[in-house]
């Protein structure tokens, strides 16, 4: 019987348990969760699906129905777990998928079911229900995660860790004040801002550098950080460089960014002008590529001096803020040649002066002070603190000596006026001491500048700096006038000479003479003076003969004959006939044309 019972239990175990193991091995498990089941319109939340399979790796996740929401991002992280118990190895493959959704309208919506593919088969999870209420009506989100102060970029992508450990997802609270017109880079970028764009020399300018990171981005390594250069400023950190604080989330374009304050400095301008705060840069890891560099803006600050009106005597450029002075002198009576201690405490807001000038008095020697600082943030973002100067003062002269006062004028940018920090050091009774008196006398012998001229009792004006002849047009005129005059004279003379020569040459040329003869003959031919016509014809022919070249012999003979005719007609009383003379002129003209005389 016992054997029968045992056999029954064995059969039950084989039949009842083995199939269930086989089924468990075939069907993957999927857990679906949502970060918030009630969200406001415009708020972001996440749906997480955790799939485990003992067979093939889950893949190709899909969320399914998301009506009423907009998908803002998806991240999937596969996992694998191997266990060996009593020599039996078990492999489990997993897939963790996070969908980031944004609610679009009010209502209750079903999301999903999410679907994955395992070994070519598709498996669906459960649907989830999310209620969307008007913006701002949703239950408040948990506080942002705390940050490890030793890791400036820790918590940059908080949801990654949350997903791994299955914690509840916080809803994003958006801060519109952190929004920019457009993102300055993809996924991660830097943004620098100053609290003012104009300041006076020495006034605090607070500069912050913010790191914006897309909330849907995976974990991105950040390194190679280059600090912003501010060589024209004294730079005091207001937060530790290794501290970074999440200051909120904001929407830029269609993305949500987590904003972290990574640097904050108090900058004190050292000079006037347009001063520049350089860019801070860092590199972010780029999957499968070279790191991408992100750089903050370069900022410019217009720096001036405080107004001269009402400026107290002794104001040193850069003493800006609000200062107080206090002092302690001990002891109040000393032997001549002895020393006393003077402690001056300078406190306040701003870049405290690094040195003070003790009042000069005859017979009082101030030795180098010891300076102690306790500076940092004092009011909100204001830099300030306390600086203590400890002097040892040697009293060389006897009598009741007034140590004078320490005065530090400053400009208060808050009150827009000058102030004076002052502390009176009071009087000290110095008892005479013969030895010290002798030493003082010896010191007096070694004194310098004993024979300097006396001070001037009144203002006397100043000699004007010479303007300089070279700066005047008169100088340049005087420099070039004489040579230019010479050149002009020479030019004028040369021109006159050339004109004269040309005229003379033109008047004496054979061409001119010939042309003139022709013109004379034409004129004469119109008159009734036969001798005159013949004479003019004769002169024209002779001129033509002189001018003509390569004349045919027949023409030459005709010319010679006509010359003789004109000659004889001029001196023959019976041949005085103007008509005949004109005929000879016309013949002469034809011959001249035949000779082709150049005119």
């Amino acid at each position: 019987m016992t054997r029968v019972v045992a056999a029954f239990w064995l059969i039950f175990a084989v039949v009842g348990i083995l199939p269930s193991r086989a089924i468990a091995a075939d069907v993957p498990t999927m857990r679906v969760s949502v970060s918030n089941d009630t969200v406001g319109v415009g708020s972001m939340f996440r749906v997480t699906a955790n799939v485990e399979s003992s067979d093939e790796a889950p893949e190709a996740p899909s969320l399914g129905n998301i009506r009423g929401f907009e998908l803002r991002g998806t991240s999937a992280s596969p996992s694998q777990m191997t266990t060996i118990i009593n020599g039996v190895r078990t492999d489990r493959r997993g897939l963790n998928v996070v969908w980031t959704l944004q609610a679009e309208r009010v209502g209750t919506f079903r999301i999903g079911p999410p679907v994955v593919t395992v070994g070519g088969k598709r498996y669906a999870g459960q649907t989830i229900s999310v209620t969307v209420v008007p913006a701002g009506k949703a239950p408040s989100s948990p506080a942002p995660p705390t940050v490890n102060r030793f890791d400036p970029f820790a918590g940059l992508f908080p949801h990654i860790d949350d997903d791994v450990f299955g914690s509840n997802e916080p809803q994003f609270q958006l801060n519109p004040q952190l929004a920019l017109e457009r993102p300055r880079g993809q996924v991660v970028f830097l943004h620098a801002l100053a609290d003012k764009t104009s300041a006076v020399v020495g006034e605090q300018v607070t500069v912050s550098v913010l790191l914006y990171a897309d909330v849907t981005a995976g974990q991105i390594p950040i390194g190679d950080v280059h600090e912003a250069a501010a060589t024209e400023f004294i730079k005091r950190p207001l937060i530790a460089d290794d501290a970074a604080t999440v200051i909120g989330n904001t929407r830029i374009g269609d993305r949500i960014y987590t904003v972290r304050l990574i640097r904050k400095w108090a900058l004190f301008p050292l000079k006037t002008g347009e001063l520049e705060v350089g860019a801070m840069s860092l590199s972010i890891g780029n999957r499968g590529g070279a790191p991408a560099v992100r750089e903050s803006e370069r900022l410019r600050v217009h720096v001036t001096e405080p107004p001269p009106l009402g400026r107290p005597a002794g104001y040193a450029s850069g003493d800006v803020g609000r200062f107080d002075l206090s002092s302690k002198v001990a002891p109040r009576d000393v032997q001549q040649g002895g020393v006393l201690s003077v402690t001056i405490e300078l406190s306040g807001v701003g870049n405290l002066p690094g040195a003070i000038t003790p009042p000069a008095r005859a017979g009082v020697e101030w030795l180098e002070p010891q300076i102690r600082d306790k500076v940092g943030i004092v009011e909100g973002d204001k830099f300030g603190g306390r600086r203590t100067f400890e002097y040892v003062v040697r009293m060389k002269a006897a009598g009741e000596i007034d140590l004078g006062a320490i005065v530090i004028p400053y400009w208060s940018p808050d009150l827009r006026r000058y102030g004076i920090a002052r502390t009176d050091l009071g009087r000290v009774l110095v008892k005479p001491n013969a030895a010290a008196d002798e030493a003082a006398a010896n010191d007096k012998k070694a004194e310098i500048f004993t024979d300097l001229p006396p001070a001037k009792a009144s203002l006397i004006g100043a000699k004007r700096a010479p303007r300089g002849l070279v700066n005047t047009p008169l100088y340049w005129f005087g420099l070039v006038a004489a040579p230019a005059l010479y050149l002009l004279t020479m030019l004028a003379l040369a021109i006159a000479r050339a004109v004269r020569r040309r005229r003379a040459a033109r008047a004496e040329s054979p061409e001119q003479a010939f042309a003139q003869r022709i013109r004379d003959a034409e004129t004469q031919a119109k008159s009734a003076d036969a001798r005159g016509i013949d004479g003019a014809t004769l002169r024209a022919l002779r001129a033509a003969t002189v001018q003509a070249k390569d004349v045919e012999s027949a023409v030459k003979e005709q010319v010679q004959r006509l010359i003789e005719e004109c000659d004889s007609a001029r001196f023959s009383p019976e041949l005085i006939d103007p008509e005949q003379a004109r005929v000879r002129w016309r013949q002469a003209r034809k011959l001249i044309d035949a000779m082709k005389v150049k005119r």
Binding site: T231, E232, L270, K271, G273, P308, R311, P312, A313, G314, Y315, A355, T357, P358, P359, A360, R361, A362, V364, E365, W366, G404, V407, E447, I448, F449, T450, D451, L452, P453, A455, K456, A457, S458, L459, I460, G461, A462, K463, R464, A465, P466, G468, L469, V470, N471, Y475, G478, L479, V480, A481, A482, P483, L485, Y486, T489, M490
Partner: protein, 284 residues
């Protein structure tokens, strides 16, 4: 509004407009006088620090005056004498006395300022010698620069003018004459005067540029090391001593680091930190 009332208001506005600027000028002048007198009293009572404050305030107000500069120098010198000197007091004293010398409207103050600046530089030299440094606080410039600055820019301009006229006359005579001797003489004269014209005009222009682009200044820190335009110290360059008179070339190398200025000290030149030098005030 009645016509007479309008007239009355217009008259009042005119009176205010005509009186107000005069009062402003008068009060500004009274204020500077008062500051000066407070400085003089502090100086006479041995309160050097206060006197410095008052005379520096005058400078801040834009007052350019030989007496104010002179007294400022005395105040700094007094603080040194009283063993309460701050770093750079000797340089500040030298600067103030140099300024007084430049601004002095009469020879007496110029002589006093010269004597005072010599005394300050002697003290600087004495201190330098005590720590084994060269005693020279003044240095001569290069030959060309010395020649250029040997006389005033106006003198070079006048010589250049004369040379110009002589050059033109010589050329004219040379062109017009047929006589051999006169021709040779005018040729030589034109060559010499032409050369003189070029040299003197260049020197006048150079002196003008030096005056326009460079300003006189004095080193007001315990010493200043010459560097290149990136701020890297020059090897083998002597540090500029406190109280040394330098030329600050404001137009030189605009690409240098903004806190640096180009200076010349004798034949040495390079960049120093702007705050190490103080420019002498001048009336333009």
């Amino acid at each position: 509004m009645s016509r007479s009332l309008r007239r009355g208001l217009a008259l009042c506005a005119l009176l205010v407009a005509s009186v107000a600027p005069g009062e402003g000028v008068a009060s500004a002048s009274e204020e500077t006088d008062a500051i000066f007198q407070r400085g003089v009293v502090a100086l006479k009572e041995g309160r050097a620090g206060e006197a410095i404050g008052q005379f520096e305030a005058l400078a801040d107000h834009g007052v350019v005056d030989a007496a104010a500069s002179f007294n400022r120098g005395l105040a700094y010198a007094m603080r040194v004498r009283e063993h309460a000197e701050a770093s750079g007091d000797l340089g500040q004293a030298a600067c103030a006395f140099e300024e007084a010398r430049e601004l002095a409207p009469d020879d007496a103050i110029e002589r006093e300022a010269t004597r005072a600046v010599d005394a300050v530089r002697s003290e600087v030299a004495r201190r330098r010698l005590r720590v084994g440094e060269p005693a020279n606080v003044e240095k001569r410039g290069s030959l060309g620069r010395s020649v250029m600055l040997a006389t005033s820019e106006d003198a070079w301009a006048a010589i250049a003018w004369s040379a110009s006229v002589l050059f033109a006359i010589s050329l004219f005579v040379r062109s017009m004459t047929n006589g051999r001797r006169l021709r040779v003489a005018s040729t030589i004269s034109s060559l010499i005067s032409g050369l003189a014209l070029i040299v003197c005009a260049s020197l006048a222009t150079g002196a003008r540029m030096a005056r326009n682009e460079a300003r006189a200044g004095v080193i007001v820190t315990s010493s200043a090391r010459l560097s290149d335009e990136r701020g890297v110290a020059l090897v083998n360059a002597d540090p500029l001593p406190e109280g040394a008179r330098i030329e600050v070339d404001l137009a030189h190398a605009p690409n240098a680091k903004p806190e640096l200025v180009f200076v010349r000290w004798g034949d040495a030149n390079g960049y120093i930190v702007e705050a190490a030098a103080r420019l002498l005030a001048r009336v333009e």
